[in-house]
């Protein structure tokens, strides 16, 4: 796990390890309230892929024999050119479809053996930020975020408390009554992050959350994900934003044509020329 605080972007004041520990514990207690989580508690690997391949059709291959493991609490960049299999990786983790070969374990759960009826519970325990945001068009920012809590049967009172909290965290307090089509791309992206994180999942995956955004907004979102990671949440972020990855110096998993071509800690986007 990365221990060094990144050079930039960084939080305004670097939290001491005590503060970090407290935040981590708070995160844990929030999580335990979701009693129906299918993820097994514990500090083992959060994600294990073992020989995973995904063939959409005989000539369209999303992933090709990927084996890797991601520890709880890690921050991982999933990089690669467009079409390299980043989204396929992410969609496999929330069981949008099955791998053609291999096995996937999330939070100690083998996804192949997870019954269909349990899939919603898996998805609740994973926060997912989608490349195309996937916001509910007919609902306001507030309602979009609240929906994730309503889905897990959160009572209305704590929903009314938690939603403004998370909207403040992503800096959208003043936009809570807007509809998605009244927001900029960056703002929609932040709503998507707020929704993914509002019930404090142990695993947060983000599919190109800074794609198509201007550099400043990107940095804001990056900071947000970093802060979320500091609460103990495992974060997997797919991106092809070279600059961002280079600045953060986190673990980098590079994909090309569905294959892992590099898996390196505290790395840059491109292989460091030695």
């Amino acid at each position: 796990m990365s221990t060094d605080a990144p050079s930039t972007p960084t939080e305004p004041d670097t939290p001491s390890s005590r503060v970090r520990e407290r935040a981590r514990r708070r995160g844990e207690s929030l999580r335990s309230s979701d009693r129906r989580s299918v993820l097994r508690p514990g500090d083992g690997p959060m994600v294990i892929l073992d020989g995973v391949s995904k063939e959409y059709t005989s000539d369209a291959r999303g992933l090709d024999d990927v084996t890797l493991s991601i520890e709880s609490g890690e921050f991982v960049f999933l990089v690669g050119p467009s079409g390299s299999g980043k989204s396929t990786f992410i969609r496999l983790l929330i069981k949008e479809f099955e791998p053609t070969a291999g096995s996937i374990t999330v939070g100690g759960r083998n996804l192949q053996r997870l019954r269909r009826s349990k899939v919603p519970y898996l998805r609740r325990s994973i926060g997912c930020v989608f490349q195309d945001y996937k916001l509910l068009a007919g609902r306001t920012v507030y309602e979009n975020v609240a929906y994730a809590l309503q889905v897990i049967g959160e009572n209305p009172r704590s929903t009314r408390r938690k939603v403004p909290e998370i909207l403040a965290l992503v800096g959208l307090s003043d936009k809570s009554d807007r509809y998605p089509n009244e927001l900029s791309g960056g703002e929609q992206q932040r709503v998507s992050i707020a929704r993914a994180f509002v019930n404090h999942p142990r695993l947060l995956i983000a599919d190109e959350p800074t794609g198509n955004l201007d550099p400043e907004t990107s940095i804001g979102i990056m900071q947000l994900l970093y802060r979320i990671n500091r609460t103990g949440t495992t974060v997997i972020m797919a991106t092809h934003d070279r600059e961002m990855v280079d600045k953060m110096q986190m673990r980098v998993i590079a994909l090309e044509n569905g294959k892992v071509v590099r898996d390196q800690r505290q790395a840059s986007y491109a292989r460091a020329d030695s």
Binding site: P120, Y121, R124, F130, V151
Partner: protein
């Protein structure tokens, strides 16, 4: 709390889908209105037939040439039948009394004045205890020498059969019409829900991706169907009530016999209204249920 959330979701969907929802609601309104008009009408026809059947008396015509002892013999037979309970009552109607009776029933009795003589025979009018037993009573009286050979014994066999045929026709035609209308309502509600699902298919996709269970997604659609059914039925009941107090009640006021009044109110309106509203809800639930099975495979 869940229930409130699901209702809010259903209302959101109805609003977003107003035109189709209104169409489905109107179909339910029409179907339930016709059902609601049919049930009391059918019960009215049914009870009219029943009371007609009960009023079906047996008329044994007495031959002009019958002797007094022959007539007394017939009378003895009738007394015996009355004693064993088959006959409720009987009366002797002389030729003159028969003519007066006829005069009373005719709209224009003056035509009777033109008759040269009384053409009517004397008769016994027999009221059976049970109209179903008319056949047996007739069979036991048939051989009496007092009975007129040509006129014989007349009883309501044919009249009853005709009434029953009409009643049965009305029953089947009505049931057919109502079935068609109810099926149409179910299909239209189903169609509303289908369009609603279609309009929100992207939303449904997103809901699934953020961990909504199947039923969490389904309930609002089911409620949407039930709400359309309930509103349609409630409007139909309101309309029926208006028709009842303006048309039917006036007609009952004008009706001369107490019997008609009883028959026309064979079913209490509140009970009818409840039944109709329940049927609206069932139609709505069926419509959305069927559609969800087909179009919301999750």
């Amino acid at each position: 709390m869940r229930v409130r959330f699901f209702f809010a979701e259903a209302l959101r969907s109805i609003r977003a889908n107003a035109a189709v929802s209104v169409a489905a609601t109107v179909t339910v309104l029409i179907a339930v209105f016709i059902l609601g008009a049919f049930i009391p009408s059918f019960l009215y026809v049914q009870s009219t037939v029943d009371s007609q059947k009960n009023r079906l008396d047996i008329r044994a015509y007495i031959s002009d040439s019958a002797t007094v002892s022959q007539v007394n013999g017939l009378k003895t037979q009738l007394d015996a039948l009355q004693a064993n309970g088959q006959v409720a009552s009987y009366t002797y109607v002389s030729a003159d009394e028969g003519l007066e009776e006829l005069r009373g029933r005719l709209q224009d009795p003056s035509i009777l004045d033109e008759l040269p003589s009384n053409p009517l025979p004397a008769k016994f009018t027999v009221i059976p205890s049970d109209p179903e037993q008319s056949d047996q009573i007739v069979a036991s009286l048939q051989d009496s020498p007092a009975i007129d050979e040509e006129l014989g014994i007349d009883y309501g066999e044919e009249t009853a059969d005709k009434l029953l045929t009409v009643a049965r026709f009305i029953q089947w035609a009505g049931l057919g019409l109502i079935s068609i209308l109810l099926v149409a309502s179910i299909l239209l509600i189903g169609n509303t829900i289908r369009l609603s699902i279609f309009a929100r298919r992207r939303e449904v996709e997103v809901m699934k991706l953020v961990g909504a269970t199947n039923w969490f997604i389904r309930w609002p659609f089911v409620i949407e169907g039930i709400v359309c059914g309930l509103i349609g039925a409630a409007l139909a009941v309101g309309l029926l009530w208006a028709v009842k107090i303006t048309v039917v009640d006036t007609w009952i006021q004008g009706a001369d016999s107490a019997l008609t009044r009883d028959e026309a109110t064979a079913i209490a309106f509140p009970l009818l209204g409840l039944m109709l509203i329940a049927s609206g809800a069932i139609v709505g639930a069926l419509g959305s249920g069927i559609t969800l099975r087909r179009f919301l495979k999750v």
